[in-house]
Amino acid sequence: MTRYYLPVAISALLLAFWISPNAQEIAAGVAIFLFGMLMLEDGFKLLGGGMLERLLERATRSVSRSILFGIVSTTVLQSSSLVSVITISFLSAGLISLMGGVGIIFGANIGTTTGAWLIAGLGLKVNIAAYAMPMIALSIVFVFQKSRVLRGVGYALAGLGFLFLGIHHMKEGFDAYKDQIDLLRFALPGLIGLVVYTLLGTVSTVVMQSSHATMVLILTALSAGQITYENALALAIGGNVGTTITAIIGSLSANFQGKRLALAHLVFNLTTAAVALIFIAQLRDAVDWVSATVGIDADDYALKLAVFHTIFNVLGVALMLPLMRRLVAFLERRIVEPVPDVSRPRFLNAAVDAFPETLESALRKEVLHLYENATELILHGLNLHRHEIFESANIAETVRKSRTASDLDIEERYERRVKTLYSAIVEFTTRAGDKRLPPEIAQRVYDLRDVASDIVQAVKSVKHLRKNVLRYTVRPEGAVTELYDGLRTEIARILLEIQKLEQTDPEDRSSLSLDQEHAQIEEDARSTTRHIDRLIRAGKLKPDAATSFLNDSAYAYGAMRQLIEAARRFYIERDSSMAEVERLLALEDEDFDTEPSG
């Protein structure tokens, strides 16, 4: 399909230009309008700096807030497509719920109607080209500034200027047609006209990927008398259906949640369109009544179309709102959450790439995913089991009872479940480093990469232990078994403490509590060395076994320090000032060389 899209689109345009030179002006107007939308999007992304993302996170705490946010954000950004794509991105990153996402999509459908009002009320009645030129000229001064905010202002201003210029050229093109071709000859009455023009509206929006552009075309053609009011209504309905295509394209790179939201968008718009087509006569009457009430002239079809667009979208939301829970249940049934493949990245996908907040959040979750895989591998490598350790009231006793060798190819498991995730994390953070992230977020992204690195180093250290764990812990062999049990117990305790930290309410959690574990490790390391000396002198430990153990204990304590460092970086306060306090209060290596006071 995509193979033929480009040649067909270019051929159609060339043919249209050959048949009518005025088509060039209309097509150029559409192109300039779309170019303006792209610039507006870029501008808002630069200006956003995480603000829009933070708002989105807060705005989805209830359905009514989600809808309100969808209305306001789409009104401000003048692009329901951009709002849909951001919402899909947030849903994929797990920052908002599906219910919240559906609410935003509903709201965006109402917010998008403000575009019709702007175009019908302002764009067709004021010479907006007069504003477009100075806006574009001024914008370029801002675009070449170093400041991110000023560049954002520049792109947004240019975007708006090009939108105005595009509308102007489309208007000029249709005005020229007025004297040459009468498109009214192609107007179709009755049901067939409704169906054909609805389809035309859908195709037009799919091709241009903008319901706004379709709306401009409809309004300019309508004001130039090139289409009938009835056909314009059908085109507007079709335009609404076509707008779902951007969300569908955006969801292709998203996870199952993003796909559910795109389907919700499609279901909502198809249902609204069906209802609008069935009750078209009643809707038309309602438009006439509302228009007369608010003082819109009976023959001002452009403004009446804006009224129609608003009524049928608000009606759609009113109809779908009571069915929202059923819709969400349907989406969850239709697009089933895939059984997670622990060896593949679960959160890092292209959909979360675009915004700093989703990028950091997805990375954080993926690092936690890596840690879960690493925990399992570390414990299995020590012939221990996660559920037994995490549920144990006496870790030392549980370890002493664990004498069965785990059926484990540690090298293969490391490659499949740890290294693949680590590679994906490194690749993702490198890609993120190429983006111009706010410094605070960039620092946290690099810290998360270091957390992943510490986790991987800890697993590698445990890999070294595996041989002698198999040799000395599957049956009691006296002092050497007790020594290895000691190491296994200490590593298991660290993992348990990190698990407790994860489960602690963030309001009570402090990464400083890891210093307590660090102090314990250093004390254990010192006492183990003293204990080995005593065992060798007493003849209870052969020198070769002692040498192996000393090497292995270095790996084991290394793994413990790496795990603690990883957890410290991961659980440090997100607020940069609070994080700085924790860094100041944290104990340093030399503080652990002596017994704690108190």
Partner: protein
Amino acid sequence: MGLKNLAEKVDEYNDRLEQGKVEKIKPDHVKKVLKKLNKKASQLESEIASAKKEEKKVRLSRKLAVAREHVARAEWLLDNIA
């Protein structure tokens, strides 16, 4: 362990603050962290009181010593940060 290292770290922090590399710490930030530390210390005290095995008591007492060290540092920081 002692407050000497902390004083040196605060001096380094002040240098970085002057260079605009770090955010300003306000007393409220320290108070929030101090609240968490005090809570953790109380929690450890009650765990020690209910621990039956001597080995566990020793382990928990060592943790408590670190927690108290953090509290002392945080109080010192609160007095010296304003």
